[in-house]
C-alpha cells in the first residue's frame, strides 16, 4: 500500500473503532472506494443487469399499437402491458404500494438489506458511476493521487472523460425515465431536434442533473443521511436476520503476519489490511459491528475472502450470518413479527389479485334527465329519459346492450348494441316507456345494466328511478 492514501482513509487501526467512526463522520472525507471482484459482486452483476436492461428497454416495447408501459398523465390512463389503469383504480395503486412495503419488510427481516445491496437504484447507479470513474481515472490509489496532483492536461483529459461518461449515463437515465410518461418513439426524435415541449425537456433535464449529482457526488450520503429505510431497518431485524458481520471471536486480536506462516495462537485471523474499509461504498469499518450505514452490499465479504484465500485461512471472516449463528446458537425459527409481515403480504396479494381480476371492464353511470319529471307518451303511457355514461375499459371494441330491472311492463327506446371503441367513454340518451298504472309508487327504484356483447359476464350496473304522476 502506498503511504499517501493511508492519510486519506480514516486512521481506524490506530484508535478505538467507536471514536474513529464519529471522527470520520464529522470530517466527511471523500470516500475512494477500491474495486473488488468476488462471488457476491458477480451476484450483484447478475441481479443488476436484468433490472437495468429492463429499465432502459421497457419503453421500447410496444403492445396493441401503443407503448406497453406508459403512464399517460394527460389522458389519466396508466398502461402496464395489457392492463390499463384508470383514475378510479387508485385503490389498486395503494394495494401495490402496501404489497411492496410488506415485501420489503419480510425480506429485510429474513435476509437483511437485500434491497439496498442489490436492487436499490441508488446502489446500482452508484456502481455504474464508480465503474466509469475507475475506467477513466484508474484504481483507487491512482484516483487519490490524481486528485492531489496540480491541474494538468492529463488530469483535465481524465476528468473530462469521466464527467462525459457520467453525463451520458445520466442523460440516458433522464430520457428513459421521462419516456415512461411520454412515448419514447415520439420523445427521442423531438429531444434530438429540440422540438419537445418545455415540460418534457425540463423533466429530462431535471432527472439528468439529479442522476448526475446523485450517483456522482451524493452517493452514500443518500443512504446515510437521507434514506428513512436505513434508519428504521433495525426494527425489522432480529437475531436470525442475515447481516454482513465480522466474526470478532475469530478475527481479534488483529495484526499483520506473513503469508502461510504458522501464526501466533493468540493472534486472530484479521490481518488488519483494511481492504474491507477501502471497498466500502459508505466508508465504514465493518469490524466495528453492525452499523446503520451498512447497505449489505457484501463488497467487504468479497474483499476479505480474497485476502483470507491468499493468507491460507478459511473464508468467511466477514460473512452473511446472523447473530444467533455467530453465537453458535440454533436459529429459533421465524419469529412472530416476520410471520406477521408474511401474513400481511399474503392478505394484500390476495386482495389485490381479486380486485384486479374482478374489476369490471365496463363502467356505467346513469343520470335522469331533470328537465321534465316525466313525459306523456301515446296511449296513456309515460316516458322517463336517462343519460347513460358508458366506458369501455377492455382492450377491444365492444357492443353493449342495456337491460333494466325493477319494472314489469315497460319498453326501452334506444340503447341497443351501443358500440364503443376500446378505452373510450360514450354518452347515450335512452328513454323508458311504461304504463303508469303498472307502477306501485310515484318513484320506482330501477337498475340499469350494461351487458357486453363480447363476453356476457362483463356487466356494469347503476341505479336510478322512474317517476310517474300521482294517480
Amino acid at each position: 500500500m502506498n503511504s499517501q492514501h493511508d492519510q486519506v482513509i480514516a486512521v481506524d487501526a490506530a484508535v478505538p473503532a467507536e471514536v474513529s467512526e464519529l471522527d470520520k463522520r464529522q470530517r466527511r472525507e471523500k470516500i475512494y472506494t477500491r474495486a473488488i471482484e468476488g462471488y457476491f459482486q458477480r451476484l450483484r452483476l447478475y441481479t443488476g443487469w436484468p433490472l437495468l436492461l429492463g429499465y432502459f428497454l421497457l419503453p421500447w416495447l410496444n403492445l396493441d399499437g401503443r407503448q406497453a408501459v406508459l403512464f399517460d398523465l394527460p389522458e389519466r390512463k396508466f398502461h402496464i402491458l395489457s392492463v390499463t389503469f384508470w383514475p378510479q383504480d387508485l385503490v389498486l395503486l395503494a394495494f401495490i404500494l402496501i404489497i411492496a412495503a410488506f415485501t420489503l419488510f419480510a425480506v429485510t427481516a429474513l435476509w437483511g438489506r437485500l434491497w439496498c445491496g442489490y436492487t436499490c437504484p441508488q446502489t446500482v447507479w452508484t456502481a455504474i458511476f464508480m465503474y466509469i470513474e475507475q475506467r477513466f481515472e484508474g484504481s483507487r490509489n491512482q484516483r487519490i493521487k490524481l486528485d492531489q496532483e496540480p491541474l494538468s492536461w492529463q488530469k483535465l483529459r481524465k476528468k473530462t472523460l469521466k464527467h462525459s461518461g457520467w453525463g451520458f449515463v445520466a442523460a440516458l437515465t433522464g430520457v428513459t425515465f421521462v419516456s415512461y410518461f411520454v412515448p419514447i418513439r415520439q420523445l427521442l426524435p423531438e429531444l434530438l431536434s429540440l422540438s419537445a415541449d418545455l415540460t418534457a425537456m425540463s423533466f429530462v433535464l431535471l432527472f439528468t442533473v439529479a442522476t448526475y449529482l446523485n450517483a456522482g457526488y451524493l452517493r452514500e450520503k443518500v443512504c446515510t443521511d437521507m434514506c428513512p429505510y436505513a434508519r428504521f431497518q433495525s426494527v425489522m431485524f432480529d437475531k436470525n436476520t442475515l447481516v454482513v458481520t465480522y466474526d470478532t471471536k475469530r478475527g481479534e486480536p488483529r495484526g499483520s503476519r506473513k503469508r502461510f506462516t504458522t501464526k501466533d495462537p493468540h493472534q486472530g485471523d484479521c490481518i488488519d489490511c483494511e481492504l474491507c474499509v477501502q471497498v466500502c461504498p459508505t466508508g465504514i469499518d465493518i469490524r466495528a459491528g453492525l452499523q446503520y450505514e451498512c447497505i449489505g452490499c457484501a463488497l467487504c465479504i468479497d474483499a476479505c475472502d480474497s485476502i483470507m484465500e491468499k493468507m491460507g485461512s478459511p473464508k468467511g471472516l466477514v460473512s452473511y450470518t446472523s447473530e444467533n449463528a455467530l453465537a453458535g446458537q440454533k436459529s429459533t425459527g421465524i419469529p412472530l413479527k416476520t410471520l406477521g409481515y408474511i401474513a400481511a403480504l399474503a392478505v394484500m396479494l390476495a386482495l389485490f389479485s381479486t380486485t384486479l381480476l374482478t374489476r369490471s371492464l365496463v363502467e356505467l353511470s346513469v343520470s335522469r334527465d331533470r328537465g321534465q319529471l316525466f313525459l306523456p307518451a301515446p296511449n296513456g303511457l309515460i316516458d322517463n329519459v336517462y343519460e347513460l355514461h358508458l366506458t369501455n375499459r377492455s382492450a377491444l371494441t365492444d357492443r353493449y346492450r342495456i337491460e333494466v330491472e325493477g319494472m314489469t311492463e315497460f319498453s326501452i327506446l334506444g340503447g341497443d348494441a351501443i358500440m364503443i371503441p376500446s378505452g373510450e367513454l360514450l354518452e347515450v340518451g335512452i328513454r323508458l316507456r311504461a304504463d303508469p298504472n303498472s307502477l306501485p309508487s310515484s318513484g320506482t327504484q330501477i337498475l340499469f345494466r350494461a351487458v357486453s356483447n363480447n363476453d356476457e359476464s362483463v356487466i356494469a350496473e347503476a341505479e336510478s328511478r322512474f317517476i310517474r304522476p300521482t294517480l
Partner: protein
C-alpha cells in the same frame, strides 16, 4: 385583498425569510477538532453537537434564494402580481386556448366537408353528442326525442325542414313560432268545431257536423299557414296536423287549448354561443339521427 392584509403578508413573509437566514448563518460553527456533545445521554447514546453538514446548509440557502426569485417572478407578496404576470385563471385560459386550437384544427377539417358525408363518422357522432349534451339536451332530452313543447329531432318529422341547410339555419338563427290565439275570433263554439275538424284530419273520432263547421273555419283562418290539406308548411314552421305527432299534446282538450291561446315556441339562436365549426358538427349529428347511413357503392356490393 385589502392593502392592510397585503402589507401584513409582505412583512410576515420577508421577516420569516430573513429570520430563517439569520438563524441558519448565526448558528453556523466551524468543525471542531474534538467531538463535542450536548451532554444528553440515552441508553448510552450521546447526542453530538456537530455543525450542520455543509451540503445541507447550501441546500437550505439555495431554497431561500429560490424563494426570493420565486416571490419576484410569481404572485406571493400580498397584492404584488409578480414580474411574469402569472395567474391561475391566466393559466387556465392558456390551456383552454391550446385545447381549442388543437380541436379546432380537427373540426375545421370537418367544416370543409358536406354534412351528408360526415353525419355517420364515429368521431362526429361522438363530438356531436357531447355538443348536444351540453347545449340541447336540456330541452330536447338526452335521447333527442324531445319533450312537451320541444320537438323530437329523431323522428324525421321536421317543423322547419330536415335538410342539412335547414337544420343549420335553425341552429344559427333560432326559430320563433307564432301560432296566434283564436279565442277572440272563433269564440267557444268556433274553437270546439275547429278542434273536431283537426281530430278528423287524423282519422280520429270526431263529431261530423262540428267537424264540417270546423272545416270552414280551418279554410278561412288556418289554411294560410297549415295548408288547405293541413299538412303544414315548413317555410313558416307550421306543423303538419295530420300525422299524429303533437308538439303540445294531441287530446281534444290540448288541441282546443292551443287554438284558444296560441303557441309561441322558441328555439334560441346558437350563433353567439357556438362557433361555426361546432354548429356544423352539431348539424351533422342531428341530421344523422334515426337515419341509416347511405352505404357508399363499393366494388364489393356492386
Amino acid at each position: 385583498m385589502s392593502d392592510f392584509w397585503s402589507v401584513w403578508i409582505i412583512v410576515l413573509t420577508s421577516a420569516q425569510l430573513i429570520a430563517a437566514l439569520w438563524i441558519l448563518l448565526g448558528n453556523r460553527k466551524k468543525p471542531a477538532q474534538e467531538i463535542k456533545t450536548t451532554g444528553h445521554q440515552y441508553d448510552g447514546l450521546e447526542e453530538l453537537d456537530n455543525p450542520l453538514p455543509t451540503w445541507w446548509v447550501y441546500l437550505f440557502i439555495s431554497t431561500i434564494v429560490w424563494s426570493v426569485g420565486y416571490l419576484v417572478l410569481y404572485p406571493g407578496m400580498g397584492n404584488y402580481p409578480g414580474l411574469l404576470g402569472w395567474s391561475s385563471t391566466g393559466q387556465y385560459d392558456v390551456r383552454v386556448a391550446k385545447a381549442e386550437d388543437q380541436y379546432r384544427a380537427m373540426r375545421d377539417r370537418y367544416l370543409a366537408m358536406p354534412i351528408e358525408e360526415i353525419a355517420f363518422d364515429p368521431k362526429v357522432r361522438k363530438m356531436g353528442r357531447r355538443l348536444f349534451g351540453n347545449n340541447c339536451a336540456q330541452c330536447h332530452g338526452s335521447d333527442a326525442y324531445g319533450a312537451h313543447g320541444f320537438p323530437n329531432l329523431a323522428d324525421n318529422d321536421w317543423l322547419y325542414g330536415g335538410t342539412p341547410e335547414a337544420i343549420k339555419a335553425t341552429l344559427i338563427h333560432g326559430r320563433q313560432a307564432a301560432m296566434p290565439a283564436w279565442q277572440a275570433i272563433l269564440g267557444d263554439a268556433g274553437i270546439k268545431a275547429t278542434t273536431q275538424y283537426v281530430l278528423s284530419l287524423n282519422a280520429r273520432e270526431a263529431d261530423p257536423s262540428e267537424a264540417a263547421r270546423g272545416a270552414q273555419h280551418f279554410q278561412t283562418y288556418c289554411a294560410a299557414c297549415h295548408g288547405a290539406d293541413g299538412k303544414g308548411n315548413q317555410l313558416m314552421g307550421a306543423p303538419n296536423l295530420t300525422n299524429g305527432i303533437w308538439l303540445y299534446g294531441g287530446t281534444a282538450d290540448q288541441i282546443a287549448h292551443t287554438l284558444r291561446n296560441g303557441r309561441n315556441g322558441k328555439m334560441p339562436a346558437f350563433s353567439s354561443t357556438l362557433t361555426e365549426d361546432k354548429i356544423h358538427i352539431l348539424t351533422a349529428w342531428v341530421y344523422g339521427l334515426n337515419r341509416t347511413p347511405v352505404v357508399a357503392a363499393t366494388a364489393a356490393n356492386l
